[in-house]
Symmetry: C2
Subunit: 336 residues, 2 copies
């Protein structure tokens, strides 16, 4: 592990993106997504992803200068053609537009197609809720999850994030509708450890505890039939509104050469500031409820990540050597 | 079991509500919710609930003539004071208003407080999607679910329904964020059968397989920490926007005497009719995927309920004798 100061990691990531052709603003925003993921202990959405971004820019399937073309299909409904831009850049521009619109109308929606991986959804939900509005964020991805009772991967990991303003820090959830991430399967494979029964199927649709076989197979939905239903509904809703690809036709979130054709959906609703105190009191009650046998305490979603963030802002980011070496190389290569 | 013709069950339920003071339109709508639940095989939301509605009307905590007072807090955001009206009546009036608004703006939201139990959420999601719009429906309820890792009930069963138009029947999901319903626990108790480990805690927060003890305790969230996060987010989001009560302060969905203070939230988004064919082709692919060992086939949410509905429209409703006797008595009493 390398322990790297946040400003050092940030400036290296920005440098690499700048040299790949991103504008300063776009490089800063994309780097911020990667750094925030590292700060919150979600390395699967962190600097690990920098190389793919740079390679995809080099291959012409990401345009690092694009911010997306906005088309209001109704006063409250924004459709965005992402013009193959960096996911966070396109998402941020769309959110800025609909947050302003929601202030006036009470609600506004953005449906985004032809944009790249937008990173941690909680980033957006927390930012919106921090400004006093309720946010729902959805994004689709390549098919990695099998239907409940089915043998093959037909659904994305299709996460949802929700942000709600309170009297204190915003309340935020961010969860995939898969039982685990493909990153966790790869991590087990890397460490030579089996995966628990029920996590995944192999390429033939048979249950497996071998992470190598699972990598070629499919992950289970979380929560059985209910998690499957949610993941399927998100796949359909996002595709319907954004005009995005579905299931196995989705490309460009796990490869270097395909245009990204998944969709993103943001719903922003003007918050009710009168309820903030009541929500915070209720969250205190939940946090302080006696834990069940086997648990230390009841957790409120996102609070552990937020505490870790504070810690790492001081202490620095613990990065895998290979990841940090790659970031250094990418930022040096760019300068030549 | 009594096998009752649908029109007979419907007219009896309507008669009971009419005599309790509902207008003909309100009686028909409330009865329709109960009948549709029976048709779809969800008796927990069916005629079983008629008696409580009549008693609550008699006790003055439901006003069977109210349709709700509408206040547009923005052009796209409707706040509804339900005026203690029948849940379906208030919900239907709110939905009519926002579906029209969404046609023009692209999106519209209704947040409802002071309304009664709205029944099956899928009813609303399916109706909206059937008219070509995307619907998200949320409602809160009395605290029956414990936080993941916590000992006591602090969350409602907080269901979500989503409806998406396709080229064929609308796609609809409707699921509680609890692992099972309290109705299922009561059913096990009634039949003297144990409940599986993991379903519930007793009144002291200890794991139990005794349904009698579970009735006084708390149900688990579905899907562990993720289902808990969703249920908590829905509780907060609905309360924030509707101004509804939270957790243990929620009353009036399980008793005869308290004003109902939970909240409902509907989001309607103008659909993209151009995607209908693609969604239907994808659903065909999911439906036809080979089943995993131990499964007959892969199910699409709501399709089994829809098939059962067709069957029962012909064959009639199989009702528990006690439930049907009560409906008959309520409709006769009303006439006197």
């Amino acid at each position: 592990m390398a322990l790297v100061a946040v400003h050092e990691a940030r400036s290296r990531a920005e440098a690499a993106l700048l040299c790949a052709g991103a504008t300063p603003a776009n490089a800063a925003l994309q780097a911020d997504l990667l750094i925030e993921a590292e700060l919150r202990g979600i390395p699967s959405h962190g600097l690990l992803r920098l190389e793919r971004l740079i390679v995809r820019i080099g291959n012409g399937v990401i345009d690092p200068r694009a911010t997306g073309r906005h088309e209001w299909r109704g006063e409250g409904f924004l459709h965005v053609d992402g013009q193959n831009g960096l996911g966070p850049v396109v998402a941020d521009a769309a959110l800025a537009a609909i947050c302003e619109r929601a202030q006036r109308l009470g609600v506004s929606v953005a449906a985004i197609s032809a944009s790249n991986h937008i990173g941690m959804l909680s980033y957006y939900a927390e930012a919106v809720a921090g400004r006093g509005q309720v946010a729902i964020a959805l994004t689709t991805s390549e098919a990695l999850v099998h239907p409940f009772g089915g043998r093959t991967a037909l659904l994305g990991t299709n996460p949802i994030a929700i942000g709600v303003p309170t009297a204190n820090d915003p309340f935020v959830i961010d969860l995939a509708t898969s039982l685990v991430s493909m990153g966790e399967i790869h991590d087990r494979a890397h460490r030579g450890q089996p995966i628990p029964p029920g996590w995944a199927l192999d390429a033939h649709g048979e249950a497996t505890t071998d992470p190598e076989k699972a990598k070629a197979g499919a992950i289970a939905p979380f929560g059985g039939a209910k998690g499957y239903a949610l993941g399927l509904a998100f796949e359909l809703m996002v595709s319907s509104l954004a005009g995005a690809a579905l299931g196995r036709d989705v490309r460009g979130t796990l490869d270097d050469t395909a245009y990204c054709n998944k969709g993103d959906l943001f719903i922003v609703i003007e918050g009710n500031s009168g309820q903030g105190e009541a929500l915070s009191r209720y969250l205190d009650l939940v946090r302080d409820t006696p834990p069940e046998a086997g648990f230390d305490r009841v957790l409120i979603p996102n609070e552990r990540a937020r505490a870790l963030r504070e810690e790492r802002l001081e202490a620095g980011l613990p990065l895998a050597e290979a990841v940090w070496d790659k970031v250094l190389r990418l930022s040096e290569e760019g300068k030549r």
